[in-house]
């Protein structure tokens, strides 16, 4: 029996919160009562908390009473660090670390064990904040999010620092999106509703699958290891509008543009964006986790769309990413931390009318069915 624990990032319920269908207590109740034993709570401070960064004193009592009532436990708090907050200058690393230290203290006050920073949070900032993390006994983890690989600079600099100093309060939070091997079907459907050609969607899925199965290697030399998915997407969008981008991004962008031009009839600008989805994949391998085990703070169980496995009623999968392989591997190497469901497909339905919005509650239940099943194998 695996010692891996299951939890949910309340990021998953962002839409239910937006429409005021589930408030914070409602989200915690859902995790504690409907997910067959999941008990871990992860949340984003700037999503979940009212009056951030100073919630009312009464809030903390309510928070702990919900943890008791629903048998849940605070695992990881996800934090941000917008560098233009002061508007008259870009935050220095010191200023950025001040914000992080304040968030670490808030996490401590709420009983969290870990704080997750963005992938793009400079390691220097994390190191500046580390004394506060150590004082609070909070493990600070950098999110490793597609298209960042597990064997690139962002991970290496953390591992190097930990090896040099022996601190146990610095590490990584791998996001399951690094095991995605193709764009999700809900992403491609979204693009088709916005005018992308079916041929482009077929082409990008084929390109990704060929790379995944080893039949092709067009993506092999592309290294976007220092960019988050959001930043690659917005940089590509800007490149299409202005033809301006950095030298390391230009070749990858040009390749995606020429694939469309050479293969798709009557393409428009949006077809380029569809092809660029291929750039958002880390194509990480489960084996890459082996040497990183000591540094894993917790794991984001990112997923885009759960669908029923053909001829296995009641059992679900995400067709765009590998769960079985990495879970088998994590069990083998003895990972004992949390995998927290992090659903990110809801935005792919929000261009439609209300009746077409997807149920996050249902998607997370299906994801937890899969996690539980794979963990118990």
């Amino acid at each position: 029996m695996s010692k891996i624990k299951r939890g949910v990032s309340l990021y998953s319920y962002q839409q239910a919160q937006f429409f005021k269908q589930l408030d914070l207590e409602g989200q915690i109740r859902e995790v504690g009562t409907n997910l067959f034993g999941a008990d871990g709570i992860e949340l984003l401070d700037e999503q979940a908390l009212r009056k951030y960064p100073h919630p009312d004193p009464e809030f903390f009592d309510a928070w702990y009473s919900w943890m008791d009532k629903y048998h849940t436990t605070p695992v990881t708090m996800d934090v941000f660090g917008d560098v233009l907050q002061f508007r008259d200058h870009v935050q220095s690393y010191h200023e950025n670390a001040e914000r992080l230290m304040s968030d670490i203290r808030l996490a401590k006050k709420m009983g969290f064990k870990n704080v997750r920073t963005l992938a793009t949070c400079p390691v220097e900032v994390m190191i500046l904040a580390l004394p506060v993390a150590e004082e609070c006994d909070i493990r600070l983890g950098k999110e490793i999010h597609a298209p960042i690989p597990l064997n690139g600079q962002y991970v290496n600099e953390i591992v190097d620092y930990v090896q040099k100093t022996g601190t146990r309060h610095l590490g990584i939070v791998p996001d399951w999106g690094i095991f995605a091997f193709r764009p999700s079907e809900v992403t491609l459907d979204w693009y088709m509703r916005h005018g992308a050609k079916e041929e482009t969607c077929r082409l990008v899925a084929e390109l990704c699958m060929e790379n995944h199965t080893g039949k092709g290697n067009a993506l092999k030399d592309i290294d976007l290891s220092k960019y988050t998915a959001g930043n690659v997407e917005s940089s590509f969008f800007r490149y299409l509008k202005t033809h301006d981008t950095t030298d390391d991004l230009r070749p990858a962008f040009d390749l995606m543009i020429s694939l469309v031009k050479d293969n798709v009839k009557d393409y428009t600008e949006i077809d380029f964006e569809v092809m660029a989805q291929a750039l958002l994949l880390s194509r990480a391998k489960a084996e890459d986790l082996r040497e990183l085990m000591p540094y894993i703070v917790s794991i984001h169980g990112k997923f885009y769309n759960m669908s029923e496995i053909p001829s296995r009623p009641g059992q679900y999968q995400d067709i765009s990413m590998d769960y079985e392989g990495p879970i088998r591997f994590l069990k083998e190497i003895g990972y004992e931390g949390y995998i927290n469901s992090e659903y990110e497909g809801q935005r792919r339905f929000q261009d439609r009318t209300e009746e077409y919005l997807i149920s996050e509650v249902d998607q997370v239940r299906k994801h937890q069915e899969m996690l539980k099943r794979l963990l118990e194998v």
């Binding site: 839409q15 700037e46 951030y52 233009l84 508007r87 988050t228 917005s234």
Partner: protein, 158 residues
Amino acid sequence: MFDNFLIRKDSLKNDVDAKGAVVGFQFAARNANYRGVYLSLHNGYYIRVDGVEYPREFQTFEINGRAPRDFTQIAKCVWEHWDFDDEGIVHVRKPGGLASGEHTIDFQQSVLAAYGYLPTDEEWVKNPPVPGSGAGSDKTKNIVTYHLTLNESEAGRV
């Protein structure tokens, strides 16, 4: 994200000042993201109503129980937070307000929140992007079009 839900459907109203004059219009907007942000990062809107553009200089924003503030003032609210749950009111100066009936609103929000340090940071300190260019709107990259009917059951206040 939340493309079709960023403006509350029944929130388009004319604004009336203390003397009873119709001085503009307003609508309620949400944060186009999965989280809130420090208010200072909020950089204004691309707003085009029935083909007429209303630049940032004609806009004010009402949030956190305060009177409407323009975006020069908003940029100074570096310790005030716009929570994810909260709706803000966008006021647009237009003497006489909008006519009765349905209006077509093209809309994009610009919030200078991003994932860490970016090449555009220094430029955006000196010259914040003009809303509508896509800059500062990475979660809702496209301008969204709404068809809203003017709510005349009650007037808005400025």
